[in-house]
Symmetry: C2
Subunit: 265 residues, 2 copies
């Protein structure tokens, strides 16, 4: 597998800066985030990436489908699909959303995800974009993503054609799951993206910034990476880090370290 | 189900103080922790509890079976079994332990748990004490408990007789699991303890102190409690809170609030 720099790893960078740092370090693929893409203007941003000859391994992220305003959520996700088309990627990562405010109805929130994916899937299919459901670590179940395991994401994805709804395997989110290896095998051609970052301890005070560089934590990347390859995945490996120190460091230092870690883990 | 005060909820209290506060608030059962039990002397502590007429719903906790010093771990767990006997409880809660230092071998750590439970089960059986495996929220997989789901705990428990190895259902640890309801039904008579506390957001900076009073967070206690009852569990409901503000408050205020929350959730 080859390395893709997920843009979140250099969170302060504009898309133009991210494209330049990839070029300087010989990285051939990028995982683009919607906020910096829109900051640069979608068409101009897409041209920047295209002119640099970069593959776009994924667009992050649509989703947030569990709230009360269905139409706003669907409209935003259709815009995200359009942005994926503009970028020339067929993979839109979806973080499905947590419990609505003051709700304790987890089953209901999960049902909302299923209903709204069904409403989006035809639009995605016509655009040639796959909706890539990202199961999230249960630490985020209440406030970010009610899909908590790879098997659960697959139960939903498999109700749709393979070229419309797929899954993301992110090591941080799935490493603890006693069923992760059979679930990766089950996922097979539904794996639309493979993202790596490490589970570090002690957990930092802000749990959103707990995702460390591969090698700094407790995850066995060889076993998970081998399982993803064995399942037939031939796409890029996105290194996606959420960590205050990484985000504060100079972009070139971070990306040089990412390249080193990718080669050694 | 009736209320048991897990001693951790009033973390600063001695066992004598915990027994007294139960009496003042009409609470008939207590979940005892080993540290305050040993602080008071096991025989004296057991007499305190017995003289007050309190049921002991569980002893917390044995476990930590994943380290390199097998003999020390087994010896400590045999002492915990003896303490359960002294207290007159048949339930010893086990937090099985996380990854050994510098290890990324999660499968190996899980195998160590299975091997060492097999070594302890006969001793527990002869003492009339059940080893109650506590599946822990995946947030603690690396550093506290490599059993991450109720199904996984049951896969292990079911390799032993029902009266020797059982499970704990703790709402905080299992609420997010898409398979929690069928897993509770599967657990049936293997449920040795039912513990309640809430998942609160935002997660406090110290993730060990993220367990709030029922009603303060996102967990649907009615559904989980009904499932536990439907599975045949007739024991106490332990309220077990890990939260800095709760631990700082006067014991009587905390316990009065626990009694109110127990009645209303």
């Amino acid at each position: 597998m080859s390395l893709s720099l997920n843009q979140k790893t250099i969170n302060r960078a504009s898309l133009a800066e991210a494209v330049e740092v990839c070029a300087r370090h010989g990285i051939e693929a990028i995982g683009v985030w919607r906020e910096p893409l829109n900051d640069s203007g979608v068409e101009r941003g897409a041209k920047l990436v295209r002119d640099a000859g970069l593959r776009v391994s994924s667009l992050c992220r649509g989703g947030f489908l569990t709230g009360d305003d269905t139409e706003a959520a669907l409209a935003d996700n259709r815009r995200a699909i359009d942005e994926a088309v503009a970028l020339g990627t067929d993979t839109l990562v979806l973080v499905v959303g947590g419990l609505p405010p003051r709700s304790r109805d987890l089953a209901g929130a999960r049902q909302r995800v299923a209903t709204r994916i069904a409403e989006l899937a035809p639009y995605a299919g016509e655009a040639g974009v796959r909706l890539a459901l990202e199961p999230m670590h249960p630490i985020y179940c209440a406030d970010r993503g009610v899909l908590s395991t790879l098997d659960q994401a697959l139960d939903l994805a498999e109700t749709f054609p393979e070229d419309r709804v797929a899954v993301v395997v992110d090591t941080f989110h799935v490493w603890w799951d006693p069923r992760v290896l059979p679930a990766i095998a089950r996922a097979g051609a539904r794996i639309a993206a493979y993202q790596v970052c490490d589970w570090i301890t002690p957990l930092p005070p802000d749990a959103l910034l707990a995702r460390g560089l591969p090698g700094d934590g407790h995850i066995d990347f060889r076993t998970l990476g081998a399982a993803v390859t064995e399942a037939g995945y031939r796409g890029d490996t996105e290194v996606e880090i959420f960590h205050a120190d990484v985000w504060a460091a100079p972009f070139d230092d971070v990306v040089a370290e990412v390249v080193r870690r990718f080669a050694s883990t």
